[in-house]
Symmetry: C2
Subunit: 228 residues, 2 copies
DNA sequence: CAAAAGATTTAGTCATACCTGAATTCTATT
DNA sequence: AATAGAATTCAGGTATGACTAAATCTTTTG
């Protein structure tokens, strides 16, 4: 058995979500984890103790003070995330899934693919650095590409950006954005900004697009590279 | 969740192996199942009771008398087998695995792919009816293609056959046959037969092949279609 | 700063899904 | 009818994790 399988699916899920919270700069609280994992906070505390006491320790955990991943924990998390994102890419590129359909499938497959399959899948897909949502895929050594993106919400009228990433697993949101023509690779110009509600009016740079308004909640989940 | 996931991996494995034993005409004994599943006979008895009492019942089980699959049990078994064989086909056709490398990977993946993925995979591969070992793949409605093959062991000198199936998961055997040029699709002529040990001398119908001897144990695992 | 609110942890349970050895019972063979 | 071998029952064990309720800690707020 390869290294990534010494951990149960559940342990891998905890590590994955800890990593994802850290990655987004959100606080890794017991409650946040409980929500994501759909368990009770008490269960999270229990698992955090296990992760901290495991050999090797996967997290550093001081009660009431929060959680950090150890090197081993980070590796395990990135391994699962690499699996997840490669699988999502495969489902879209090779099997004709749309980007709102891939998440659950990837969540089940990510725990059972071997290192060999991971490698061959990556190679089949051309060693992609980003998945269909623009999420970065750790490379074979689990290194991530540098991230120079900003949330769309931070752009102001006149500024131009290219969409790099849509950070959401919500089917409806993804379908909505898809339908508005907002997906990674698309450029857009900000036309207006309302300081009261944070709404942005944007114009995608595609021939048949017209300007429309996008709310703060959404524009915080869309990440862009600012264009000169 | 789709139907195939109401059963645990372990239940699916029991059903699969019951089906495979039945398919090969071998007796579905407690010991045979225990060997295949690498557990003790006592554990098998325990699980058989569960499978018989489950709702719907998956097997008909009278103690000391053997096991039959119910319709539901057969469907569940065929579902897993379809997954397994489609995945093996995919690994070979799309990812460049050799036929001796695919079994373990398929054994893990077969339990976690959705009906949707199953369908798309099948379609990507052109709805294959046979996997890389020549094992028949149940179609979407779980029907199997008719089987008109005979074990190579039953051919006699002068008879010609085309290999349809190699019924083994043993890596070494598969590699050996591969190297001898014996894989599904290949035609051969039987040149000699020894009634004492059951050895067959065969000549593959390929340009650079020379006759060689194949033992009874092996020739019972290779299935051919007799050619006129 | 004290009290309330909110988040987190502890303690004690429960549940699932198996597996096991040892003793027993059944079946088939001779 | 004795016996070998196969199968079953019994009582118990392990591994994962989840849960509630009560206690404790931290943060906020009047």
């Amino acid at each position: 058995m390869t290294k990534s399988f010494v951990y149960t699916a559940s342990i891998q899920d905890y590590l994955k979500h800890i990593y994802l919270l850290l990655e987004r700069g959100e606080a890794v609280t017991t409650t946040a984890l409980a929500q994501r994992l759909k368990v009770r906070p008490a269960s999270v505390t229990g698992m955090l103790r296990r992760l901290a006491r495991s050999e090797p320790p996967l997290i550093v955990y001081q009660k009431h003070r929060g959680v950090m991943l150890t090197e081993a924990g980070k590796r395990a998390a990135l391994e699962v995330i690499r699996h997840h994102r490669l699988i999502e890419t495969w489902l879209v590129q090779s099997l004709g899934y749309s980007w709102d359909e891939v998440h659950e499938e990837a969540c089940r497959l990510e725990h059972v693919i071997s290192e060999q399959l991971e490698a061959r899948l990556a190679s089949l897909l051309g060693n992609p650095a980003y998945d269909p949502h623009g999420d970065p895929i750790p490379d074979q050594d689990l290194n991530l590409p540098p991230d120079t993106t900003l949330p769309l919400a931070s752009l102001r009228p006149g500024q131009q950006g290219r969409i790099c990433r849509v950070q959401s697993e919500q089917k409806e949101l993804l379908r909505y954005l898809e339908q508005k023509g907002l997906r990674p690779g698309v450029s857009l110009v900000v036309v207006d900004y309302s300081p009261f509600d944070g709404n942005l009016t944007i114009l995608p740079q595609s021939p048949d697009a017209s300007p429309f308004v996008i709310g703060l909640a959404v524009s915080l989940k869309v990440f862009v590279e600012v264009l000169p």
